[in-house]
Symmetry: C2
Subunit: 347 residues, 2 copies
């Protein structure tokens, strides 16, 4: 493990696993009848180390930053939308704000590298490492120093917050480009399989995006390890999310991963510390075509499949009630004994 | 339309549809970026006839009944589990009770035909038509009279309750057999494609179930219309759910449909009144193999796919927060104008 990053030990507690499995199997329902919710209940118990896991003070962290490559026309929206959406998050009008309110998630927007000066305000964590990344077609997106600093922003954002679960989201015009480059390198798939329309490119825009990203991929073909890839092809918010995932995993918090960009960040974290994945709940399969490939690479089964492609942590927030349901099933459902319900007959 | 059933007119309001579409498209997100949630917001607005639809006093109705065919060994559980689970619902320990509590759904259990005498108690609607259906391998499951009475139970259960949305669930050992027979007839698929393990049959049990159901299908091969099929092959709770769906549709309530058994009941309702389907939100694709075929037949796209096979309305309850999210997106998200966020650039 890299010295400045936390250690994430593998979770291994057969006694707890057996106890949780026994509790789930004795609930008043046929064996396995709650499907993915049962696996989720087991995972939450194992991550939190509790037979009756309770999710406390969930934190929705939206990491925001700008991307030098956006100037190359890889997005349907101008970079200004990044800072404008930060205001929208804080003003309560973004999808993530609305969903956070619905589910009682504490929303913090982390400015890791937005090209805008924000006034201090509640809900905004100011931790700008740089006003944006550099254009990765011309050189590395970040210096090694910047990348380390952004990882540290993510770590601190988690470490300084209460609760035992974080939901990770992002905002950054151009960041599906960075995610695509990282996904292609980490999965070994062709770049074209990892590049999508992002916020809504048309066919010509998609072709241009692919051509720009191919330049970036070619220029950085000699990148070797995950940290090097992250610095050269990533984004400040992506590095921060990787740091947040590592920190949350080390603290044994549950990590709810949003869409493509967050999954790419978590894939970097998992390349550094594979046991991070044990703590991750992948919220949804996005409409970006590369996301499914990346999820498959990670062995991840997303909870939702709603054709979302918004980011912001919106998919993580939409999946949140399922995590609550999983813990309530464990805590509140009766057992066959307590409810005096007959068991299955021999067949 | 059959005279004792309500009329369900087709929804058709192009002005409202345009207004809803415009509101959704002007929210601060790329066009279509909230995927299925956007289609859901549109549907809820159209069903309720409101530009800003609000879901009020959601009612989770769990219709319970026993099945004569259960005596033929088509389920892994004894029929006693039906009444025992009714107690469990009312005692708060069943999955449906837990999820209803989580989401603030008013839970009513409707005894349409459980082979047990219940004391009057809060949350239980006593409307027993018969103590169970007859064994459909030997004759019709219900008389025409019983079937009509059960349809009426469902209609009244909805009509007597407040709010503008119903979530439909069921309990009845043996009812995946009835659902399979109805699904096979309504879709035209081979019976084997519609028969699954229900609460958890092993291979031998599944083979026995298929053989028993083939007898029933053969015996009733001359059934013609949907009502005749329902009476001969259905169940008291299934008829009640069909009646509930028709009534809710006629009252322009949103209908959240749980799994295989509820979908079979709704398919009967839709065969009688196709416009019922416009009001239906299909909550999930269950692990019962016939459910996907039935959903495809209905042109339905379920919201969740979590491998559930419990019934009780548990899948409907799990999907519920997505409906809430859809309405909140409409009501609470800022527009590009109000949030002063830049629009997409020409690409």
């Amino acid at each position: 493990m890299i010295s400045f990053l936390p250690t994430v030990p593998a979770l291994h507690d057969p006694a707890l696993e057996a106890a949780l499995g026994h509790a789930i199997d004795n609930k008043t329902k046929p064996l396995g009848a709650l499907g993915r919710l049962e696996a989720l209940a087991l995972q939450l118990g194992l991550v939190l180390g509790e037979r009756m896991p309770r999710l406390r003070e969930p934190q929705l962290l939206v990491f925001a930053a700008d991307h030098g490559v956006a100037a190359r026309g890889v997005s349907a929206y101008p970079s200004d939308v990044t800072w404008q959406m930060v205001h929208n998050f804080l003003g309560g009008g973004a999808a993530a704000s609305v969903l956070a309110r619905q589910h009682g998630l504490a929303l913090t927007v982390v400015d890791v590298g937005v090209a805008h000066d924000f006034a201090a305000q509640p809900g905004l964590l100011q931790a700008k490492v740089a006003p944006a990344t550099a254009d990765m077609t011309q050189g590395p997106a970040m210096t090694e120093q910047q990348c380390r600093a952004a990882l540290q922003v993510g770590r601190s954002a988690v470490a300084d917050r209460p609760g035992n679960v974080v939901l990770l989201g992002e905002m950054g015009i151009g960041n599906s480009s960075a995610a695509a480059l990282l996904a292609a390198r980490l999965t070994g798939l062709p770049l074209a399989a990892c590049v999508g329309r992002g916020t809504g490119l048309d066919d010509a825009g998609l072709e241009r995006k692919l051509s720009v990203l191919q330049q970036a991929a070619d220029r950085h073909a000699d990148a070797t390890d995950a940290l090097d890839l992250l610095a050269r092809l990533g984004g400040l918010e992506i590095a921060a999310i990787a740091g947040a995932a590592l920190q949350a995993a080390a603290e044994r918090r549950v990590i709810v991963v949003d869409g493509y960009i967050c999954s790419a960040a978590v894939a970097v974290a998992a390349a550094l510390s594979p046991a991070v994945l044990q703590r991750c709940v992948f919220a949804h399969a996005s409409a970006e075509p590369g996301h499914r490939a990346l999820l498959a690479h990670l062995g991840a089964e997303p909870l939702l499949d709603l054709g979302l492609r918004l980011g912001e942590g919106s998919g993580a927030a939409l999946a949140w009630p399922l995590l609550e349901s999983a813990t309530r099933v464990l805590a509140e459902m009766a057992s066959f004994e307590s409810a005096q319900v007959s068991r299955e007959t021999a067949t």
